[in-house]
């Protein structure tokens, strides 16, 4: 468990840095960062869900699953970088809003799970194109993984919005 007093001190220190001061006092920076942050989430979530829906055979049935995965999943990693940079700057601008907020840690845990699942899907399909189509068990496992992926990404987005409503005073 993270020591709340240390996080509190760290948040205070962070909020007193010149960078944090600039972000706090320049009106357009936070909405701009949030816009880029949301657009990054849009790319990540849409890419992941298009592969998940292909696993469920809902969309893009005319294209083999490994092709769909190759089109959408590699793009995720550079966009994750943009997500982390804009997210970090938002934390630097308002440290207490997130660092002293349980919702923020829940969101980070869900994001880690979402990215791990995406990495697993990408790795399995590039090492063995028929990985999720080998037998009935694998097909069911694939659909379970796709469902969990969709739910976890939804959780990330709900968590992100709820940070604003659960922040410490």
């Amino acid at each position: 468990m993270i020591d709340a007093a240390i996080v509190n001190e760290f948040s205070k220190w962070l909020a007193a840095t010149p960078l944090s001061h600039t972000i706090q006092t320049t009106g357009w920076i936070i909405p701009t960062l949030q816009t880029i942050h949301i657009l990054s989430v849009a790319v990540l979530f849409s890419s992941a869900i298009l592969v998940d829906l292909r696993i469920w055979r809902v969309l893009q049935r005319d294209a083999p699953l490994p092709d769909v995965a190759r089109r959408f999943l590699p793009l995720i990693w550079p966009v994750v970088l943009i997500l982390l940079v804009t997210g970090s700057l938002l934390i630097i601008g308002e440290p207490r809003r997130s660092l002293l907020n349980t919702t923020f840690y829940l969101k980070m845990a869900l994001l880690a799970a979402a990215l791990a699942l995406t990495g697993l899907l990408q790795w399995s399909l590039s090492s063995a194109p028929g990985f999720w189509d080998k037998d009935r068990g694998r097909r069911i496992a694939g659909r379970c993984a796709a469902t969990v992926s969709i739910l976890v990404w939804c959780g990330v987005i709900f968590g992100g919005r709820f940070i604003a409503y659960t922040q410490a005073g």
């Binding site: 849009a42 849409s46 890419s47 869900i49 829906l53 709900f158």
Partner: protein, 167 residues
């Protein structure tokens, strides 16, 4: 104009709008659904735009790219409009007085118009060139314009949150 004002106050005074205003959990939940659906709508439209620009999915014909994605785009768009509508009726007069809200609605209209014009111009000869990695200028323009418009829609959406306090 008077009728519009009547409709707006009718919506604002409805029990549903009252619930969204008074319930602490309802507004954030609707807002989360709105962000989620906008992410899917914009993200999936981007796939088509990047294909039109010749930057992604170039080994697939345009019509197959759109067919594989449009059900998600339209589904997400309908949910975004419904959730956006619920947020709107909870504070209709305030939203209508917000420049970013008006800009967002106009930009969505412009994005729709861009799509309609693209189809009108290219509907007939699309099969001739849709397999090419590099598409005609009109298609590339439509794709580029669409990206700019949707980025602006998301930006306006975020700015609404900073320029008006719901409740």
């Amino acid at each position: 104009m008077l009728q519009l004002q009547g409709l707006i106050s009718y919506l604002e005074n409805s029990a549903l709008a009252d619930n969204i205003r008074e319930n602490d959990l309802l507004f954030p939940l609707i807002e989360s659904v709105h962000v989620l659906s906008i992410c899917l709508a914009v993200g999936s439209i981007l796939v088509v735009d990047l294909r039109l620009l010749g930057l992604a999915s170039t080994d697939r014909p345009v019509s197959r790219v759109t067919q594989g994605i449009l059900p998600l785009t339209w589904g997400a768009f309908v949910v975004a409009v419904a959730s956006g509508g619920l947020m709107f009726i909870s504070n209709a007069a305030k939203y209508l007085g917000n420049g970013y809200f008006i800009a967002k609605i106009l930009l969505i209209g412009a994005a729709g118009l861009n799509m309609v014009i693209f189809h009108a111009i290219n509907a007939r000869d699309l099969p001739k060139w849709e397999n090419d990695p590099r598409l005609p200028l009109s298609a590339r323009l439509a794709g580029g314009l669409s990206i700019l418009l949707w980025v602006a829609v998301v930006a306006c959406g975020r700015w609404i949150g900073f320029t008006m306090q719901p409740g």
